[in-house]
Symmetry: C2
Subunit: 311 residues, 2 copies
């Protein structure tokens, strides 16, 4: 029920995903049963493949996320997280209130043991045709060096499992290539990452090398800088549309292609979609959630944390 065009874009995206996904996948839709069946009827789709879980409330953008998560106990987000915690579903995605999704991830699903701070990750296109992963994209504005170190573990596993990279190159976003460059936090983080066997650390990356793909597949930064980088990239994409720059590479910045924003470091796959998600974006978000489950993303992260050399 979440998102600017809910529930119709959500249902249409689920229908399209259902058609594309392997037969062993079953989608559960949390929302107003009547609206869901009415929409399916309208587009001549038999909703039998879906598990429909009826909910009566909606957390909207004006609600206080933490309060609404508790008080609107029959909202699609709250009921979805209950199902996820209880193991009735294996992953959960929504284009609804980002705040409420984060509350659910942190307080219902909870951080994986050993994780100091979960984070959110975002992807952007590389000139090589591949994708880069950037984390944190905005959850923790202030990060300690050991938190950045753990992002290296989370990012490397995500890029391996989800983007099929054998030994993803992990770099620290910094303001110089040399070891001694940076602010107080990145200087310390560099020292922690340098020589690690927990991930393939390739050193610092400067922002003018973000897009080439020459340096890194995974970019580590705090949630403040990560959010600035992400929004500046969004601005460039919006500009290229506005100025009618029709270029294949710039077009690949379209968020719809990437699904949603994964919350990394919690005990189950949780993906948050853009509020204005189109059916295509919803379909890709569902496929992304399914991949995280199939590739054992969460068990792999748990195992890596048990074996990390720094703690």
């Amino acid at each position: 029920m979440g998102g600017d065009f809910a529930p119709y874009h959500i249902i249409q995206g689920a229908i399209d995903a259902q058609v594309q996904l392997p037969g062993d996948v079953r989608l559960a839709l949390f929302g107003d049963k009547e609206q869901i069946t009415a929409y399916c009827e309208q587009v001549h789709f038999d909703p039998a493949p879906f598990d429909l879980v009826h909910t009566t409330e909606v957390i909207d953008m004006n609600d206080h996320p933490a309060k609404a998560f508790q008080q609107k106990a029959d909202s699609s987000i709250t009921v979805g997280f209950e199902a996820l915690s209880a193991g009735k579903i294996d992953g959960f995605a929504s284009a609804g209130s980002t705040g409420a999704m984060l509350v659910g991830a942190m307080y219902t699903v909870k951080p994986i043991e050993g994780i100091i701070r979960p984070c959110i990750a975002t992807e952007f296109p590389l000139l090589t045709g591949s994708r880069a992963l950037l984390l944190d994209a905005g959850l923790n504005a202030d990060c300690r060096p050991d938190v950045l170190y753990q992002y290296g573990i989370l990012g490397a596993i995500y890029a391996h499992d989800m983007n099929g990279l054998d030994n993803p190159r992990v770099a620290l976003l910094n303001i110089g290539a040399e070891e001694e460059k940076g602010n107080l936090v990145t200087k310390e983080a560099y020292k922690l990452m340098h020589g690690t066997t927990d991930f393939n650390f390739v050193g610092n990356i400067e922002a003018n090398h973000l897009f080439s793909g020459d340096v890194a597949d995974v970019i580590i930064t705090d949630g403040f800088v990560g959010n600035v980088v992400l929004k500046q990239a969004e601005a460039i994409y919006a500009l290229s549309k506005k100025l009618k720059v029709d270029n294949d590479y710039f077009n690949r910045f379209n968020y719809e292609l990437y699904g949603g924003t994964p919350v990394l470091g919690v005990n189950a796959p949780v993906i948050i979609g853009h509020g204005m998600s189109s059916p295509l974006a919803v379909t890709n978000m569902i496929r992304q959630t399914e991949q995280a489950i199939r590739k054992n993303l969460i068990p792999n992260i748990k195992q890596a944390l048990r074996h990390q050399n720094y703690s």
Copy 2:
């Protein structure tokens, strides 16, 4: 003598500037007199309008900036800063070693009384056709809230004097528009800036609004984030060239159009050029220096600091 194409691009840029500048301006060139006169002869330009100050040493990119500034006492940068401190020249620009230029600015010209940390500023194009000023662009990776506050004063005066804006809109770069958003430093900086009469504070700006011109003319951030934003913008410009996106707006990101990077908060106009400065970039850097002198940028900053409401 500084820059990848010194001294020829520098001399040509000075020749072009000399032709464009008003008659009351006299340019002093610090460098190898023989090379300067030989180049002028080659392009059939009579060097009589220049004051030629012969220097025998060059600080190169491999030198340690602080050591070289002292040890290469007859370098064009060191001799130039001596002339600036002694009042023999009114402003100084160079495309040479950025580090040595900063050493000269900080230890020879020195910070203006009351300035906690001088900074460097950069400009980028707005969709409106105007320009925005971003500071700090990379001098101070870690900034206290009161340092960011002073950047507001410096930026507002620069945008007024140099870009002709009557009452420039000053915004704090942040990860949300609301007052309570941000990291520890920006939250405190917001409180200091909110309601100030020292400059026209318009609140937070998110990175997706940087280029429209709808929000701000002056963007305040620490040197880490500022450097990331600047280098990401450079990457986008480089991409647009590489991908042959020929768009008027993207073309305006060409650094040559902006001259150099001013050091703000020191006792004289000091401008640092890109190492690979073309003659056009050098000409614009000289014009920018001349404007800073003519518009009384430094006296105006000193006056504003004497009257600042926060200290």
